[in-house]
Symmetry: C2
Subunit: 160 residues, 2 copies
DNA sequence: GTATAAATACTCGGATATTGCGTGTCCGAGTATGAAGGG
DNA sequence: CCCTTCATACTCGGACACGCAATATCCGAGTATTTATAC
């Protein structure tokens, strides 16, 4: 079970936009250069963020992407859902009904599958932990550990 | 982010072996027929469980698989790890160091990436929730909801 | 009748194809910019 | 000098290839059973 690489890209891009002030749009090309990523593919991820309402895109020559709302109002869960989709990792296919279960009356399967319930319980814990963290929390943690980060990024984007 | 289908198969197979008493080995073919699954591919998953020490395999004409230890001593986490591997879902590739970060001194990256930390925190919550549930718990939940399950399965396997 | 030995059927185990999704790339639609030309 | 118009460069957005891992399959190694045969 591996999470898409785009999630990491999206997280760092959101933080970068915040560090840059979020006043003028930043193009995909700039962001891609800032992380040495394939710009066309990064653009695909940013589009997903825009569709999810996390970023806003502006076309034209000085266009690009901006955060749609402050970091305090974006949870890590929002970003993960935007890139990975909202589907659950464990998908119950109801194999209990097939084979040996096929001969049992249907009413015996009205209650949800115990395996699925156990998995869902764990997945809910994961989702809760993701939803409990906002991007502002993540940025604050980063700033606390390396206070130079924001200034260093601003300087680099000013020169490139 | 989708979990392998084999996890569901493995979970149900473990419960089935327990319901059947876990005294004589059950062959892959029988288990596959009991769930209408491709037996050769199911065998692959069962091998993974055997390698993880969850099941024991016995060759020969009356061979098959048995649980290596009681359900109380098998956590859901054990099964997931056996099938999916122990790698983390979110893999930090340290993109913060590339591009704009390449010009910053190395010592600024001694502290772990804040994005990675946030993801890891959520993933740990997921793992804890999985490890907190034993297969005995899952079986108990299933028995509570549908008390006929065990008997129905025993009857089917006695006739097939 | 009993013990021995060979044949047999059935099982696991790993090596080998195939499919689907994540990854990566390309080109067209659209817009703000800036230049050019006329008033 | 200023306004209008047109060309342009740059951006997003979706459509189009590629590669790897999950999925699925097949065949060989090994063992307990069964059967046949000799004593």
């Amino acid at each position: 079970m591996r999470m898409s690489e785009g999630v990491e890209w999206a997280m760092h891009c959101c933080l970068t936009l915040a560090w840059l002030g979020n006043e003028v749009p930043v193009s995909t090309a700039k962001l891609a250069a800032g992380f040495e990523l394939p710009s066309a593919y990064l653009n695909k991820q940013l589009q997903a963020l825009a569709k999810a309402g996390i970023m806003t895109s502006t076309p034209g020559v000085r266009g690009g992407f901006r955060l749609a709302r402050p970091l305090e109002e974006i949870t890590v869960m929002d970003v993960v859902t935007a890139i990975e989709g909202s589907g659950e990792a464990f998908q119950c296919t109801e194999i209990r009904r097939r084979g040996a279960g096929a001969e049992r009356p249907e009413w015996q399967f009205r209650t949800p599958c115990a395996v699925s319930t156990a998995m869902r319980k764990a997945e809910m814990a994961w989702r809760r932990a993701l939803a409990a963290q906002t991007l502002a929390d993540v940025q604050a943690a980063a700033d606390r550990r390396a206070p130079q980060a924001g200034e260093a990024i601003r300087r680099w984007y000013a020169q490139n």
